[in-house]
Symmetry: C2
Subunit: 213 residues, 2 copies
Amino acid sequence: MSSVPTATVSRLVTYLRILTQLEAQGVKKTSSEHLADEAQVSAFQVRKDLAYFGRFGTRGAGYTVPTLRRELRRILGLTRPWSAAIVGVGRLGEAILHYPNFSDYDFVLKGAFDIDPNKVGFELGGVKIDHIDELPRVVREKGIDIGFITVPQTAAQGAADALVRAGVRGILNFAPTIIDVPKEVHVEPVDFLAGLKRLSFYILNPQLREELV
Amino acid sequence: MSSVPTATVSRLVTYLRILTQLEAQGVKKTSSEHLADEAQVSAFQVRKDLAYFGRFGTRGAGYTVPTLRRELRRILGLTRPWSAAIVGVGRLGEAILHYPNFSDYDFVLKGAFDIDPNKVGFELGGVKIDHIDELPRVVREKGIDIGFITVPQTAAQGAADALVRAGVRGILNFAPTIIDVPKEVHVEPVDFLAGLKRLSFYILNPQLREELV
DNA sequence: ATATGTGAATTGATTCACAGCG
DNA sequence: CGCTGTGAATCAATTCACATAT
């Protein structure tokens, strides 16, 4: 298990979502082919992705939905809830603070920070907004693992630096810029402007798009 | 030019952002090495990515910032403004409707749709909210190219179907689910819950992360 | 009979080394 | 002489075919 393609990790997340839907529908068994159809990949790919982590099926019979779902949750580290905090309570930050049933998704929002004195002290979505200067203390006291960056582009690197100094282990970066962090901190970008620009390219160059079958 | 890696398209977007910042700072010249540092990739990679589309530099001297920026904007199709509409005016939809200076980003939001009669008829961020039944007419009349899906997961496929029937050419999908569209329509996912789950995996398995140079 | 699991083959992307040009 | 541009080599990911287990 020396290395796993990043694309495999993304697909595991997709398979887990499909399995969660199947379980909610009361479906008990599935197959690599069915998962592949739903995830828009090949059945080979599903089996190879799972093979990086072990054997989860029964030959001739397929996969048991609750079992495979549990295994994927374990592999992805979603058995305990992670603690998260949000830096930047603008409109996007507010939208995330109000995201319904966050804990259903294995994450708990425990902190929110902003630099604007008009926002500090208020509560949104059950979370108190602290001044950014309080970040180190709150992150330590509440055991925050993950920081969300929802500040403007120009403030993103500063927010990342503050989160790293306070000891978070991962950052979800909504700002449209690349941030620099030490190698032991992982960053996942969530950049809709970049997505829009890729869309522009592929609309103009449909022949350069990868096949979806 | 039979095929271009999707990773290359993502990196072109990053290079363009860096060039835009350099131009705003009045910097006139740059190099593959400088761009590589900023984008957190190798200089080989920058030159190879650009080589898919032509020759844009001067040997021995590097790249002229405004020239390369203009070329990348042309390659990505960002010379004209694209028309976009948003389906689902919840908190996330509102956050996007208020996104400052959208037109600076080569996109113009011309329409917004919701199913809630309490929202229809109001205006947000200068855009009138129409009932979703009006989508086909408005998309045609306003020449909408791109649809944003910001509805709940269960409504995402229906929203996609409506957009496709109305003739959009691309979809930016913020809903945490895979949507099915005909192959001539391109979809870019913007899925922060998936990003969070990847983060969980990489925090637990730091040794499985790809090297960042 | 059927669908998984996996080494081998293929395809694709990145890295390299240096030729080419200013 | 310096930095780009690019074929060749390496490395990685996907696809395939089939052996394997139930």
